[in-house]
């Protein structure tokens, strides 16, 4: 039953993709409908009217788009239901589908971990399909055909869901590639700009290099398993030597880390996410990166089994570096979606800090703390999916209404777009880890796990873990600074461009509803984290065979992961107190009607007339941080002052140019590029273009191989 739900979620997303293909088939469908009407004259009048309307030229595209998104939404809903029910049922369901290789049918396994990620994808897909119709409505059908967008969106969602179901390496890789390749087409959707094509190609290269690493990782496991089988069951049973296990782990970390966007293999992320349509960016950043996290968890905890603390250390350090560098790079961006993409790097870093902690604690025999860290990581995965999708959808609304991607040209939108501004604020608060929202809870849990470092034997680990916790704090504090910048420049102050001054709230209910769903969940999960932790505890029970102690998860008010004596947090009380304190002071101070607000012009230092140019820009806002952490970026700053008059005393013009680049582009990738080119040149020598030489080469190879075999 549960599996049927999961299958139908996958099928429906496929179907929604296929349905989108009929975007240009209106005439044929119309003829088909007339034919059906001729055959069966007793179709109810209401249906007849409705379908006739839908098939008219004006209404057809809109109705079809709504239908495609409706199917996608139902698929999301089913995925959510399937995920939740398998989480609650606490069992794992296996199945085989009779397609695939003759000796290796597709193995399917649906357990708590897959269920959790199913639910995450489900929520995001529901929100996106509420949001989608309003967003794509005004697309230019000639330039950006909806058929392409809808087809690949459907296939993309189906691919992600299938990755979670896979129980053998072959099926896993097919689903993984389905996800990667369809998302390539989505990134390349607006392909008229060469920058977008370049971003998409970069994404494709990195996705494929990552996939190769994953395949090699699976290969190591399969090599040690019984009869070289590629099923996950055989891989679980495989007994690896520690060295080979480490090699397999490192390959998996490289492969999945490339997809997840760990520093320094994150460079595709800030290029690819901004150029996709916003609701797709929401799915890619909010959900696809999580599938990579799923892959790593599945590979490490489930398939490899016996974890080593050195792995945890690597993951911890990589996570800490990613979180700090991700947010520092984000601070310097002024393209909103690119900034959000860099924040994904930061949040993936936070998730990896949690995973690293759990690996370290588990391998040192402190499973009960490892569970806390794992739950923190999983919780942050869920939270990040919620608030990052919310922020990308918000960015889409802003883009649609203002036609601006650069936040330096925005401002004052809080007055023009009241609903969006409130929802976006909730997203900003959640991602900045402010209580009482959800982002805070997962970071709090991560801190709680890190603070248990005392129990470890090794002094190095004991001192490294608090330092990584400090990196997490730095990342959180900088994230708050970054989102003050983002919200302040976009929504507050005076409009910096005409587009922004004339912007209006998004039309229709769908777009605010999609964002509202996510914002509401951010809020609810922040106040009542107990329910989610209960579910995550089931995941950990299945994965590690260990759960949190009973009193830690029993209450819905209290959150006490280790024990009540060590740490506790009661978000409902916090919310209650904040509402009470704020409400009472609000009521008390405003009770006198004579003291109502008086509006006046702001103080302009007596010069008259504040202009939008006097405000701090986002570049100005982050300038102190740029100066303090100057070594992290590659900064090119140029000031040209044109002078005139006697002795050059009169300044006529000042030009300021600033380029802030990602250091990893300059330090890491050029050497790789040079090596690849050099190797290609060497290899190129044997490609003479002469068929006789090729035949001779093949013959020599054949002889050589025969000699090797015999």
């Amino acid at each position: 039953m549960i599996l049927a739900l999961a299958y139908s979620a996958v099928m429906l997303s496929f179907l929604s993709g296929l349905l989108a293909l009929s975007m240009r088939q209106r005439k044929m469908l119309s003829r088909l409908w007339q034919y059906i009407l001729g055959k069966y004259p007793n179709v109810p009048q209401a249906w007849r009217q409705n379908l006739n309307d839908s098939l008219t030229e004006q209404l057809y595209p809109m109705r079809l788009q709504q239908l495609v998104f409706l199917l996608l939404g139902i698929s999301g809903l089913l995925a959510l239901l399937a995920g939740l029910s398998v989480l609650l049922a606490q069992n794992s369901i296996t199945d085989q589908i009779n397609i695939g290789l003759p000796w290796l049918h597709w193995h399917v396994r649906f357990d708590g971990l897959s269920g959790l990620f199913f639910a995450i994808i489900g929520i995001a897909v529901i929100a996106v399909s509420l949001y989608g119709p309003g967003y794509v409505k005004n697309n230019d059908e000639q330039q950006h055909p909806f058929a392409v967008l809808g087809l690949f969106s459907g296939l993309f969602v189906a691919g992600m869901l299938l990755v979670l179901l896979a129980d053998d390496a072959f099926f896993f890789m097919i689903a993984w590639e389905l996800m990667s390749v369809t998302s390539y087409f989505l990134v390349a959707f607006q392909h008229e700009h060469s920058a977008n094509r370049r971003a998409a190609f970069l994404y494709l290269i990195m996705a494929e290099v990552g996939a190769i690493a994953i395949i090699l990782g699976f290969g190591v496991l399969a090599g040690y398993s019984e009869d070289f089988s590629f099923t996950f069951t055989a891989m679980r049973a495989a007994q690896l030597s520690p060295t080979w296990a480490t090699i397999a782990f490192l390959l998996a970390l490289l492969g999945f880390g490339m997809k997840a966007g760990l520093v320094p293999i994150h460079v595709w992320l800030p290029e690819a996410h901004p150029v996709a349509p916003s609701h797709i960016s929401a799915l890619m950043s909010g959900v696809m990166l999580k599938v990579a996290v799923y892959g790593l968890i599945r590979f490490t905890y489930d398939l490899l089994g016996d974890v080593q603390w050195q792995w945890g250390l690597v993951v911890l350090v990589v996570g800490a570096v990613s979180s700090v560098l991700g947010v520092l790079y984000a601070l310097m961006q002024h393209n909103l979606k690119r900034l959000l993409a860099y924040h994904s790097v930061e949040n993936i870093g936070i998730i990896f800090i949690g995973l690293g902690l759990s690996l370290i604690f588990i391998s040192n025999g402190h499973e009960h703390i490892g569970v806390v860290a794992l739950i923190a990581a999983l919780f942050h995965t869920l939270n990040h999916a919620l608030f990052k999708s919310l922020l990308f959808l918000g960015a889409g609304s802003i883009l649609q209404q203002t036609h601006e991607t650069d936040i330096e040209h925005m401002g004052g939108l809080i007055r023009n777009m009241p609903k969006t501004s409130v929802l976006f604020l909730i997203g900003c608060m959640a991602i900045s880890a402010l209580p009482p929202l959800n982002g805070f809870v997962s970071e709090w849990l991560t801190f709680q796990a890190a603070l248990q470092a005392d129990v470890l034997e090794s002094g190095v680990l004991r001192s490294l873990i608090p330092v990584s916790a400090a990196a997490l704090t730095l990342a959180a504090a900088l994230a708050a600074a970054c989102f003050v910048k983002v919200y302040g420049t976009i929504f507050l102050g005076l409009p910096r461009s005409r587009h922004c001054a004339k912007a209006q709230e998004v039309e229709g209910k769908g777009m605010p509803a999609g964002m509202g769903l996510l914002a509401g969940l951010c809020f609810i999960l922040g106040i009542f984290p107990g329910f989610v932790i209960h579910l995550l505890n089931n995941v950990s029970g299945q994965l590690l065979g260990k759960t949190l102690s009973n009193d830690a998860v029993a209450g819905w008010i209290w959150l006490a992961p280790v024990s009540m004596h060590q740490a506790s947090y009661a978000a409902p009380f916090v919310l209650l107190a904040i509402v009470l304190a704020g409400g009472v002071s609000f009521w008390y101070l405003r009770r006198d009607p004579a003291m109502a607000l008086r509006h006046a012009e702001p103080w302009d230092c007596g010069f008259g007339g504040l202009t939008p140019r006097m405000q701090y820009t986002s570049t100005a806002f982050s300038m102190p941080i740029r100066r303090i952490f100057a070594k992290v970026w590659h900064i090119e700053e140029k000031i040209d002052i044109e002078k005139q008059g006697a002795m050059d005393q009169q300044v006529t013009d000042i030009h300021y140019q600033l380029h802030v680049d990602d250091v990893s582009w300059l330090r890491i990738y050029p050497p790789i590029e040079r090596t690849v080119n050099r190797t290609a040149r060497v290899v190129g020598r044997i490609q003479t273009g002469n068929i006789r030489v090729y035949l001779a080469d093949s013959f020599a190879t054949l002889i050589f191989l025969l000699w090797v075999i015999s």
């Binding site: 608060m429 400090a470 708050a480 910048k485 009661a570 008086r598 509006h599 006046a600 701090y616």
Partner: protein, 314 residues
Amino acid sequence: MNWLMAIVQTGLFVILAPLLTGWIKWCKCRLQNRRAPSLLQPYRDLWKLTHKQPVVAEQASWLFIITPYVIFSAMILAASTVPLIAVDLPTSASADVIVLVGFFALARFFQALAGLDIGTAFGGMGSSREMTISSLAEPAMLMAVFTLTMAASTTNLSFAIGFVLDQGIVLRPSFVFALFALILIAIAETGRIPVDNPATHLELTMIHEAMILEYSGRHLALIEWASEVKLMLYGVLIANIFFPWGIAQQFTWSALGDALLSIVAKLMLLALFLALSETLFAKMRLFRVQEYLSFAYLLGLLGLLSHIILEVSR
């Protein structure tokens, strides 16, 4: 009983905070050979401000109006979690010391947003500087706090203070480092000299004052009061974590009375030190603050490492 105690204590916090500010001003005036205003002057200022009609800029949004209330309630919440005169508070269980840092972050987030709301240059300047300084101060603060929480193996402030009391007077090198780190951070976070000057409205040096330049009337009163509470919070944190003796462990009248007297004495002494240092030192340039804060961070880190290396017995 416990909950009642928590509410009373929070009330005391909020009511006594302006007095502490008055006392610091009094000490500073005396040290600088000026005539001091009355100790009750901050109360008079608050009273005056709450009875004035607030003037709000025309382009102010709803965010600008609600911000003072958010800041004030976040500070009340923060105050409720820090033991002032008695340990074993139920409120310290509902929000531990990491949540306390979270409350500060919440207040700061809204404050910085409100600074950007009007669209004047000063507001943005203040917000930018405040977020820069705080993003450096927060990790340092948590380093100092982690030293305490790892030693006491709890993040609940009540239990942690109880732990220090039970230990008796032991000289812990880690606590010495953490104490100095926390003092440096407290100065930076509450906007005192040498990081910021609470008494100036000079455009190039303002941080906190620049953000609240557009506020008036009851809004300004709430923000001023909140920053007084914040100053006292840091004072109480330093006093009660590192020198908790005198704090009440039972709820008897005599114990509570002693506790009140001792915390007042401790705070008066701390404030005297603050006034002295504010008289002796000049304000730093903005880009020197990073060195100051990284020194605080280093102290916190040293504290943590010395705890891990020297003090963990196994």
